[in-house]
């Protein structure tokens, strides 16, 4: 069941593959706004780069949440899937996994490029990729609850940010913290361990919250 549903999601994304690169481009543009707005000074940039890249990744992941349930809700497909699939859990999991595959993973792959633009060093770049790799699935997971809750609301978009961003904060703090420790040559395994625990915890709990959220929304 999960497999087929996942294929459906990926097929849909493939059909609008042009949209796939959009979060990436948003990520790229947002990050490159900062040197323009703040300062082009390299030393400064390399200090603030990790934080900026993490925040931009957060925003890109959040903005692309829209595509998770919104369309399906408005044309009645979400109802149909929840009623007819027999397994709401698989529906939600398929959505979360495909969201990560199409948004989180590309962000991880893209991040070294931006890190170089922000004058970051080798160690820090490695840490950045690693933390994003652990962190982005959490963003997709938590995001799916927020999106599930707001899918039926007009102008859900900005409300979504109000619900989701505060929940993203711990991941942001640990992710960005680990990178800046790495940049200073310190050990950051503590942060990684915490992020890992957070990931495991949310994989096991969050899908149920998402199912509950969607069930609330479709009635």
């Amino acid at each position: 069941m999960l497999g087929k549903l996942l294929r459906r999601e990926l097929l849909r994304h493939w059909r609008c593959r042009q949209d796939l690169i959009n979060p990436l481009i948003f990520f790229l543009i947002t990050v490159s706004l900062f040197p323009l707005a703040v300062t082009p000074d390299g030393a400064m940039l390399s200090r603030i780069g990790n934080g900026i890249i993490w925040v931009a990744a957060l925003l890109a992941a959040m903005l692309s949440l829209e595509s998770m349930y919104r369309d399906d809700f408005y044309d009645g497909t979400l109802e149909l899937l929840m009623l007819q699939s027999g397994s709401p859990y698989s529906v939600v999991m398929a959505k979360i996994i495909s969201h990560w595959l199409t948004t989180g993973l590309p962000l991880v792959i893209m991040s070294p490029l931006l890190a170089v633009m922000m004058q970051m060093e080798g160690d820090a770049i490695g840490a950045l990729m690693l933390t994003l790799l652990i962190g982005t699935p959490v963003l997709s997971l938590i995001g799916s609850v927020g999106m599930g809750l707001t899918v039926g609301l007009r102008q859900g978009g900005v409300l979504l940010s109000l619900l989701v961003l505060p929940l993203y904060i711990p991941i942001l703090i640990f992710g960005a913290g680990a990178v800046s420790r790495a940049a200073m040559g310190m050990d950051y395994s503590g942060q990684l361990a915490f992020m890992g625990a957070f990931l495991l915890g949310s994989i096991s709990l969050v899908p149920f919250a998402s199912v509950a959220a969607i069930k609330v929304s479709i009635r």
């Binding site: 087929k4 549903l5 849909r12 044309d75 009645g76 009623l83 027999g86 009635r219």
Partner: protein, 216 residues
């Protein structure tokens, strides 16, 4: 929840509604509505615009909470068997082709093979549009994609909210036939329609009336 093929039903009773009442924005649409659905029944819900037909159907499918009373779908192996609901929304994804729309949406708890799907598409006269993205279809053609699900689902009950909308004359005739055949096979159908429907055997009529205490 489980999805039970028609043929597995032992009992004749499929749905039992007991004194159901629905309220929308503090106003009772109806109260104390009781009826039963048996195999082979075709029941048409009638009522003027805003009577509460759609609300009744959605709450029977679990898509709306009812305010009072209760209803019960017949159970098989302790699991209630759920109906196939086709509502005002067609549940058709514009970016997928006609074929993919049926292929990748589970119906009655399962995904189907290619052949039955192609057959169903031929039957709703969309054979030429198999690989057309559904956003390129007209209003009536989009409804047909949704209706193809009826041919593929193996459930004991169909709940159809204004299924004749946008269908041309030929399409309406075809749908009426399908409904009759399904009832003959032992399914039951609950439907609404504002335009006249033509079945061989007159359908049962269930009228929704405003309760006395609701004044406006």
């Amino acid at each position: 929840m489980s999805h039970v093929p028609v043929s597995n039903l032992q009992d004749d009773l499929i749905l039992k509604v007991d004194k159901l009442g629905i309220r929308r924005s503090e106003r009772w649409l109806f109260r104390e509505l009781s009826f039963e659905l048996f195999r082979g029944d075709i029941v048409q819900i009638v009522g003027h615009n805003g009577a509460g037909k759609t609300s009744l159907m959605r709450s029977l499918c679990g898509l709306l909470t009812h305010a009072e009373g209760d209803f019960e779908w017949t159970e098989i192996n302790d699991l209630p068997c759920l109906p196939l609901y086709l509502g005002h929304l067609a549940a058709v994804k514009p970016e997928l082709t006609v074929f993919e729309n049926l292929k990748y949406h589970p119906i009655a708890g399962q995904f189907l093979g290619d052949e039955p799907i192609e057959d169903a598409i031929d039957q709703v006269r969309l054979g030429n549009y198999l690989d057309t993205p559904t956003r390129h279809l007209s209003a009536g053609q989009t409804r047909r994609v949704g209706l193809a699900r009826l041919l593929l689902a193996d459930t004991p009950c169909w709940i159809l909210d204004e299924p004749f909308t946008s269908l041309d004359v030929e399409g309406c005739k075809w749908l009426e036939q399908q409904i009759e055949q399904f009832a003959e096979k032992g399914g039951c159908v609950l439907l609404t329609s504002h335009q006249p429907v033509h079945f061989e055997k007159k359908p049962q009529i269930l009228e929704i009336k405003r309760p006395v205490e609701a004044l406006c």
